[in-house]
């Protein structure tokens, strides 16, 4: 069963309106918190497209976050551009880096691909730490007043009657929310298309996919490139709010990939609502266990193992199996009236 379309659309529109209205009705700390959640959600949706639908289990997504962030910093500090233009440059730089990365990584499969992407990401971190103009290994900060001078901040400040810093937070929040919505809609449309069907065939069996005319390299490269672009945009946007960048923070495998994998795996890998469920669970755990130091990471790890053992396709898939409710079904159903009618049972006869 899927929820009726008008009801589902109305509920989604209401939730979305509430989320967009948040900077006007909630304290700045809540907006900042939600920005962090949305950042992880966008990263998880990108990783889900790679691992959940294309079978590309990358452990090197932090490369695109880092390159996106550094390209954005370079655009502001070295070229004097507006941070929002810098974000776009960040996305494009990450996509450009994905080309040589794919050239090397696509020669590997499975666990070797995962390790290969991690290695390339670390090479990128070491390379960036040699960039003296952006602080080398110790990193650099955004020039004072960058956020305040960002395009649209003045208008938002007047509209919401808040400080420049709060207006900048509201702008980056809205942009991240829009990126998350765009990712979700674009993923749904893509996966329902001919190419999405081919991508899922590749994930299930690349050899068989080739034998029915699907070009695995072309499709996987396209998804890898698009995911790099989305991850780069997200990384650049995240670091506008952080305002300071270092190679270790921007290329952190824990922050930008390990947590993201955890979110996707417990939420539901290979499902569109999975990362949304996963990020909510992750946020609740993070808040509940914030005072317990390393125990927090141990609990996350144990929960990940339990989900992988007992609900291999995540919490969302378990929910769908038990209730029959699927909010964003990707299944292609046969044309109505083409299926044979079930034979009447003996009892009914």
């Amino acid at each position: 069963m899927t929820l009726t379309r008008p009801f589902g659309l109305a509920a989604a529109a209401l939730a979305l309106a509430l989320l967009y209205a948040l900077p006007a009705i909630a304290p700045r700390a809540v907006v900042q918190d939600l920005f962090g959640i949305l950042t992880l959600l966008v990263l998880a949706m990108n990783w889900n497209m790679l691992a959940g639908f294309a079978g590309l289990v990358s452990v090197g997504q932090q490369a695109f976050v880092g390159i996106g962030a550094y390209a954005m910093f370079a655009a502001i500090i070295l070229m004097g551009l507006d941070p929002l233009v810098g974000v776009l440059i960040g996305g494009l730089a990450a996509a450009a880096f994905a080309v040589p990365m794919a050239f090397f990584a696509f020669r590997l499969n499975g666990a070797y691909f995962a390790i290969g992407t991690w290695v390339v990401a670390d090479i990128a971190r070491l390379g960036i730490s040699q960039w003296k103009a952006l602080g080398g290994g110790t990193g650099t900060s955004l020039p004072k007043g960058t956020a305040k001078d960002m395009a649209f901040v003045g208008q938002i400040k007047d509209m919401l009657d808040v400080s420049s810093a709060a207006a900048a937070d509201a702008l980056t929040y809205w942009l991240m929310l829009s990126l998350a919505v765009a990712m979700l809609v674009a993923s749904y449309v893509f996966l329902r298309s001919r190419m999405g069907l081919g991508l899922q065939a590749i994930r299930d069996n690349e050899n068989a996919a080739r034998s029915v005319g699907v070009d695995p390299v072309k499709l996987k490269a396209l998804v890898f490139l698009l995911a790099a672009f989305g991850t780069g945009l997200c990384g650049a946007l995240a670091f506008i709010q952080i305002t300071r960048v270092t190679p270790d923070a921007a290329f952190s495998v824990i922050d930008w990939t390990a947590f993201v994998i955890f979110i996707t795996v417990i939420g539901g890998i290979g499902t569109l609502p999975g990362p949304i469920v996963g990020v909510i669970v992750f946020y609740i755990l993070q808040r509940a266990l914030a005072d317990y130091g390393t125990i927090y990471l141990i609990v996350l790890g144990c929960l990940g193992i339990v989900v992988m053992l007992f609900a291999r396709r995540g919490l969302w898939d378990m929910f769908t199996d038990r209730t029959g409710i699927d909010l964003m079904p990707l299944t292609h159903r046969p044309p109505q009236g083409s299926l044979p009618r079930p034979k009447p049972s003996r009892r009914a006869a």
């Binding site: 899922q200 050899n207 034998s211 029915v212 299926l339």
Partner: protein
């Protein structure tokens, strides 16, 4: 007229020559059977025809066009469909979706025409009742049928069947042979590798014997099976 022809095709893996100077022609609408002991190079020959393996020497022609350098995806679109010896369904997709992928990509059908086309094939292969089931949970016969149906959905002019009757009960085999006969009757050329000889001989017009990668003999099934050399190599019956 030949729809598919191989000219002196050879392939080695290291020092082992698995396909050794094989040449033959398949006429349009013809059914050709391939037999041979395990390790004779039968599946490798299929992989050379479909492009999954590149030959060291020789050429493959489809309708007179040299397809030797074409990748597998383009050969599918050119009209070569195949099934695998061990069924390889897209396990997370439904039976219907398995065919839809093949029809949209290999068959190059549009979103409007592909659904009815797939349902027609599912009906003809006895899979319509399980169209919406995940293909990962099918029985062996159903998976074999799916292999056949998915290959048909690519709209092939030549279909390659790799031991599709292997592992089936006699009753299941009879059902499958009836389906293959119907496909052949529609004018699709077939090359069929099989160990179940009674099934094979009830469909094919010619039989080819491979041994150590070389083509030992090709001809009418009765003539080939009567050959003392074939009986000794393949059936282990001394002349």
């Amino acid at each position: 007229m030949a729809i598919l022809s191989l000219h002196s095709v050879s392939r080695s893996f290291g020092a082992l020559k698995v396909t050794d100077d094989v040449s033959f022609e398949l006429n349009a609408g013809e059914a050709l059977g391939i037999i041979g002991p395990n390790g004779a190079g039968k599946s490798t020959l299929f992989n050379l025809i479909t492009g999954n393996i590149a030959p060291d020497a020789g050429r493959v022609f489809l309708d007179g066009r040299d397809v030797t350098r074409l990748p597998p995806m383009e050969r599918v679109r050119a009209g070569i469909g195949r099934s695998f010896q061990i069924p390889q369904p897209f396990g997370n997709l439904s039976v219907y979706e398995n065919l839809l992928v093949a029809a949209r990509f290999g068959g190059e059908l549009g979103a409007g025409e592909a659904p009815a086309f797939c349902m027609d094939i599912l009906s003809r292969t006895g899979l319509a009742a399980v169209a919406e089931k995940p293909s990962g949970g099918l029985s062996l016969l159903q998976r074999k049928r799916l292999e056949l149906a998915r290959a048909m959905a690519t709209k092939p002019r030549v279909i390659l069947l790799d031991e599709i009757a292997g592992g089936l009960t006699d009753a299941e085999c009879v059902e499958l042979v009836a389906t293959i006969r119907a496909i052949h009757a529609n004018g699709t050329a077939i090359i069929w590798i099989e160990h179940v000889l009674h099934a094979l001989n009830s469909v094919v017009e010619r039989l080819m014997v491979l041994n150590f990668g070389r083509m030992l003999m090709i001809g009418a099934p009765d003539q080939v099976m009567a050959s003392p050399e074939v009986r000794e190599i393949y059936l282990g019956i001394e002349a």
